[in-house]
Symmetry: C2
Amino acid sequence: MRVMGVDPGLTRCGLSVIEGGTGRKVIALDVDVVRTPADMDLAERLLLIADAAEYWMDTHKPTVVAVERVFAQNNVRTAMGTAQAGGVIALGAARRGIPVAFHTPSQVKSAVTGNGTADKNQVTAMVTRILGLQTKPTPADAADALALAICHCWRAPMMERMAKAEAAAAEQKKRYDAKLKQIRKEAAVAKKG
Amino acid sequence: MRVMGVDPGLTRCGLSVIEGGTGRKVIALDVDVVRTPADMDLAERLLLIADAAEYWMDTHKPTVVAVERVFAQNNVRTAMGTAQAGGVIALGAARRGIPVAFHTPSQVKSAVTGNGTADKNQVTAMVTRILGLQTKPTPADAADALALAICHCWRAPMMERMAKAEAAAAEQKKRYDAKLKQIRKEAAVAKKG
């Protein structure tokens, strides 16, 4: 599974591509940060980001695009820009028929460090170790984009198993309910007769 | 000036096109609301909205696209979706070289009703009157999209005059400063001599 990780942002947007193997094996293929100037027109900034992300999709042909799910942060203005950057990238993926998955920051931190409230340094250190990189990826947005892709690689099979287990449980409950109904019906008939 | 007004949203996205004439004369050309189901994949919802908005841009060929500027609302989740819908539409405009302008809800309300805190009914009533419509536009998202386009038509010349006035004032100050410097220099020379 080839995963493109996106740490969305207007000023700095982290992009990464990793290849997930069997088990927890992951290999980094590419990582970069797209920057747009703060004094540029918002629509133009979104265009730069979308163009860069779509070029990556067309070049690396990821199986899935994993994007950080944005919540209201301390700075609402930043959160809006982040949501918009994530939105245009999700659109680019949808136009190419590539599925898009969203993971929250705490899911990402939890996946790579085992701690949902880990700080940026811990995330960067674990990403460096997991991928066996020679140097720490900088800036933090690059590390975050890699962490996001790793998180998706590791969570995807679990999410799939969870969905299957839930479906199986629902099916079992349906059969049980049907059986119970049948038994009650037979009991009622026996009583009457 | 042909203005496309956008009241962004994931569940309901209002689109309108109006033609602005001389003075405050405005004519409604089209209005509609794009809906996407809440249980649909986010990327797919953005794709539906972007496709609809881009079809409008290619059909109506607006001079400018006016989008509501999103602020954190009571519901943060809704605000994020709204920001993303606005983002993909701004991207579509940027790809076509159409300028995008953002107006805040209070600027829109203020422009059409004279009151920045007017309620939805007041906005709808004024939009109906200003455009001389036979019936009230519904749902509120349709009226909001029209209000946004009207707001842009009326604010644009003012914004342009403001920008010109500011540029003229800056130019005048520059000339004044240069003159002052020259006078001081001459005075210093006269003193010495």
